[in-house]
């Protein structure tokens, strides 16, 4: 790959005696949609957590935009332009959708506490500029009608969408989605697929997502990485991965029994 946005080189992660990731290498190219799939416990979420700085690998390197950043903490990773959503929705339930999305802008906000409190001068201009970006995302994800609704009152599918909005508010270069369509019905999934595709098209964002629905994976991803027991067992375009014997074994349970 000529110009990978992110390179994960020979990463291993250990939880006590459990080897969650075993020298896994993945490259993500600019502008692509990469799907990470694999049976339960294969290490998919661990891989996302390593990339976003929640875990640090005990061996291996992570290179983002050409610079090593293996040991960064989550806020620093976020500041570099990597945003994520969570497998279980993690919104501020009592806050409105608008405020939730505004929190996605926090890292971009500068200014003194005092000016913010007075809502005066630069603080006011800043707030308006951030609000304009957030409104663009609200329009993009078609959630105008719930702008002022407390996030906790929304149905699950919409909460997922709000979470995506918050991640987008950080204007990330790389977006990590942990099971964005889990627990959704067919119609919600179709909407979400369209949004994911539109995100790359509209904002040029690179996306890595974990997904269990194979239909979704085959439809929207440019490339698929398959993990099983902490090891990468396949990496390639969806059509190719679908026919891969090692993948079939992992999914049909030959290796599990």
């Amino acid at each position: 790959m000529s110009d990978p946005l992110l390179e994960v080189r020979d990463i291993s992660v250990r939880f006590g005696a459990l080897l969650a990731l075993d020298r896994v290498s993945v490259e993500i190219a600019r502008g692509e949609i990469l799907a990470i799939i694999g049976p339960n416990g294969a290490g998919k979420t661990t891989l996302l957590n390593v990339i976003s700085g929640f875990y640090h690998p005990y061996e291996g390197r992570i290179v983002f935009e050409g610079r090593d950043r293996t040991r960064l903490a989550p806020p620093d990773v976020a500041a570099l332009g990597i945003a994520r959503t969570f497998q279980n929705v993690a919104l501020f339930k009592g806050m409105s959708v608008l405020d939730n999305i505004m929190t996605g802008r926090l890292l971009k906000m500068r200014g003194s506490f005092l000016l913010e409190a007075l809502y005066w001068g630069p603080a006011r201009r800043q707030e308006l500029a951030h609000r304009a970006i957030v409104e663009r995302i609200i329009d993009f994800l078609e959630i105008q009608a719930i702008r002022k609704t407390p996030a906790g009152r929304l149905p699950y599918g919409l909460q997922k969408r709000v979470e995506l909005a918050r991640a987008l508010a950080a204007e990330p270069t790389l977006l990590l989605l942990d099971e964005p369509m889990a627990g959704m019905n067919v119609e919600e999934k179709e909407d979400m697929c369209r949004f994911v595709l539109d995100v790359t098209q509209e904002f040029g964002t690179t996306i890595a997502l974990i997904e269990h629905d194979m239909g979704v994976v085959m439809d929207i991803s440019d490339r698929v990485v398959v993990l099983d027991y902490g090891q990468k067992i396949a990496d390639g375009p969806p059509e190719q991965v679908r026919k891969d014997q090692a993948v079939l074994d992992a999914y049909l349970g030959v290796a599990h029994d």
Binding site: R131, A132, E135, R136, I138, D139, F140, E142, Q144, A145, R147, R194, L197, D198, Q201, E202
Partner: protein
């Protein structure tokens, strides 16, 4: 103005594009259109309106648009689409708005029948449909879209962005500086201004052609009759393909120079209504019903002291309003309590609904349930009934202020003459009478009768000259024993219940009346939750015995109120069932404007109807449903039948 209310039109101001240009000159800085976008109301002045539409027109001209060409318009109410209407008319073309939720098949019929060469649409959703339609309609050359989102990868050469079109227009103007003014000058009052395809409760849609004169004279006459002025604010939220929106948001807005407001999305309409606070508002009965249902549900959710207070004062105001409508005296103690009610309940509620500034609100399209009508009037909202139709450029009658009645549609506006045929059908003559159905002379001929136009509605003029509509002429029938039976009358009474979304009554040539009922999922769902009745789906909820009890009480209420009507008391509902699925325009059971297609429903649910007149207490059904993407599926269910004690 002559005896028929027809003013001679000034040839310099006899088409809508000419009037927009006049507005841009006389009131250039006044806001013509607002649209809520990115959370903020963005304003366009009359100068912007004319300039934007002008560039669209020039862009179309650069693509070879000729006089008489048809241009299809599809999308939610957007300033860009209203500009496209004017642009098309400026070039001597005819805009053909199409319902934005039409499925591909319906859209194909209109595009093909209208022989459209161009289309201006809102976004990807509509582009996708039109690209498919294009395969079957080779005449369609260009699809122009406003919102490019999701279409970066689209390579169809027939596609073009609206901004790109306007750029082309600017270039075209350099080479042809006087082109547009010349084309506009060639426009005449009697040119076809628009073709509105009527959704039609029967058969294929028909394209009613309305001229500039039809629309302009009718819009002005109606405004003069009811005191509509240049300072109105309206919310443009009803489909652009429906003639009502065209008359309110386009014809009247341009003729009078008032401001229209486009909501942010279909889901935010009620919220946007509150922000705008229109002074002039139109809603068909189903919207009034929806608003009423929302209010009722919220009242039910209140803590009991608040709920009792609200119910007490609402009851009081409704009693007073009824008395006023019946010309009965209002007891003094009620009149004394009313100001308190206004302070505590009516004014806050009106404000909350966004109707504080409403000077007049219209309802039409179908008869409104009297209870719904009284409810809103009791709050102090000046809701009035009007009667009209596409073929008459909407307005035929309006209830005048101070002369509002429960069961009439008001008196004819200037220029309109009404007559009742020997069969009881309403006939009319007016300056708004349409030019005919496009390419359907046979259907046009059927609407004419000795120089009058047939409305298709049965009705009569009362002693005070008020028009009272009973039902569709073909729907007013008799039971087997000859008792008069007006299904819509019964259905409207049923639909006043917040729990009943839709109802179809059957009875022609039958021994008694039976009803198919659609429950309202929001209201009944809420009701069930508060009573700890668990349900999984619409179908499941609809067949709960408790829900049947609930609806049985509503049916009994309708039957009771029917005993007060001397003519219709014989037609009470004996048996009913609750349908296992909602009537849906995608299944062709109701039209896009939510009118029941009786014939289709009768055929589709023949087995259910037979069962209603049999002696079983339930029936097994299988129904075809069409999903929004066009696929079909089957629902199976056991539907219960309930008899109501007479």
């Amino acid at each position: 103005m002559d005896a028929h209310g027809v003013a001679a039109l000034d040839p310099a101001l006899d088409t809508f594009p000419k009037l927009v240009r006049r507005n841009a000159e006389r009131i250039p800085g006044k806001v013509a259109i607002r649209e809520k976008d990115y959370g903020i109301w963005q304003s366009y002045t009359w100068r912007d309106y004319y300039e934007q539409a002008r560039l669209i027109a020039l862009g179309l001209a650069s693509l070879g648009f000729r006089r008489g060409d048809k241009l299809v318009i599809v999308g939610d109410n957007r300033p860009q689409l209203y500009w496209a209407v004017m642009a098309t008319q400026a070039l001597g073309g005819v805009p053909v708005p199409v319902y934005q939720d039409s499925v591909e098949k319906e859209m194909e019929f209109v595009v093909d029948h209208a022989e459209a060469r161009f289309a201006v649409v809102e976004d990807q959703e509509q582009v996708d449909k039109l690209l498919l339609v294009m395969n079957a309609c080779p005449r369609l050359e260009r699809v122009i879209y406003d919102d490019a989102r999701g279409m970066r990868a689209y390579a169809a050469p027939s596609l073009m962005g609206l901004a790109e079109l306007q750029e082309a227009g600017k270039k075209f103007e350099v080479g042809h500086p006087t082109y547009l003014d010349e084309e506009m000058a060639r426009g005449r009052a009697d040119d076809v201004a628009i073709i509105c395809y009527t959704s039609g409760t029967t058969g294929m849609p028909k394209g009613a052609m309305l001229s500039h004169r039809n629309l302009l004279v009718t819009a002005r006459n109606a405004a003069a009759f009811d005191g509509v002025g240049p300072d109105e604010e309206i919310l443009s939220y009803l489909p652009m393909a429906w003639v009502g929106d065209h008359v309110f948001s386009y014809a009247q807005a341009i003729a009078l120079g008032f401001t229209i407001n486009c909501p942010e999305s279909a889901a935010t309409v009620l919220h946007d209504l509150k922000e705008i606070g229109p002074t002039y508002f139109f809603a068909p009965p189903r919207i009034w019903e929806n608003i009423l249902t929302t209010v009722m549900v919220r009242i039910e959710d209140c803590a009991w002291p608040k709920r009792r207070l609200v119910q007490l004062f609402l009851g009081l105001a409704q009693e007073m309003e009824r008395a006023r409508l019946d010309r009965r005296p209002v007891p003094a103690w009620r009149r004394l309590l009313y100001p308190l009610g206004r302070l505590l309940v009516y004014a806050p509620l009106r404000d909350n609904l966004g109707m504080r500034r409403v000077r007049r609100a219209y309802t039409a399209g179908e008869a409104i349930g009297p209870e719904i009508f009284v409810f809103f009037r009791a709050l102090g909202i000046n809701v009035k009934q009007i009667y009209g139709m596409t073929e008459a450029s909407v307005f035929l009658t309006i209830q005048k202020d101070g002369d509002v009645r429960l069961d009439t549609a008001g008196t004819p506006i200037p220029g309109v003459e009404l007559r009742i045929s020997s069969e009881g059908e309403v006939l009319y003559r007016s300056p708004g009478v349409f030019q005919g159905y496009y390419k359907n002379d046979e259907a046009t001929r059927q609407t004419r009768e000795d120089g009058w136009v047939r409305s298709g509605d049965a009705g009569f003029l009362d002693a005070d000259g008020h028009l009272r509509i009973i039902d569709r002429a073909k729907d007013v029938t008799r039971l087997a024993d000859g008792t008069l039976f007006a299904p819509k009358y019964l259905e409207n009474k049923l639909k006043f219940s917040p729990f009943v979304k839709e109802a179809v009554c059957i009875g022609q040539d039958r021994p008694w009346v039976a009803a198919l009922v659609n429950i309202d999922l929001t209201a009944v769902g809420n009701w069930a939750e508060r009573r700890n009745i668990a349900y999984t789906s619409y179908t499941d909820l609809s067949q709960k015995p408790e829900v049947y009890d609930l609806i049985a009480r509503e049916v009994a209420r309708v039957n009771r109120s029917l005993t007060e009507d001397a003519v219709l008391r014989g037609a009470q509902i004996r048996k009913f069932l609750i349908l296992h699925k909602e009537l849906d325009p995608d299944d062709e059971e109701i039209t896009r404007t939510r009118k029941v297609r009786r014939g289709h429903v009768a055929r589709k649910y023949a087995a259910l109807i037979d069962a209603l007149y049999g002696d079983r207490d339930h029936v097994q059904v299988e129904a075809q449903v069409t999903y929004e993407d066009g696929r079909t599926g089957t629902i199976r269910a056991a539907v219960s039948i309930r008899e109501v004690a007479p």
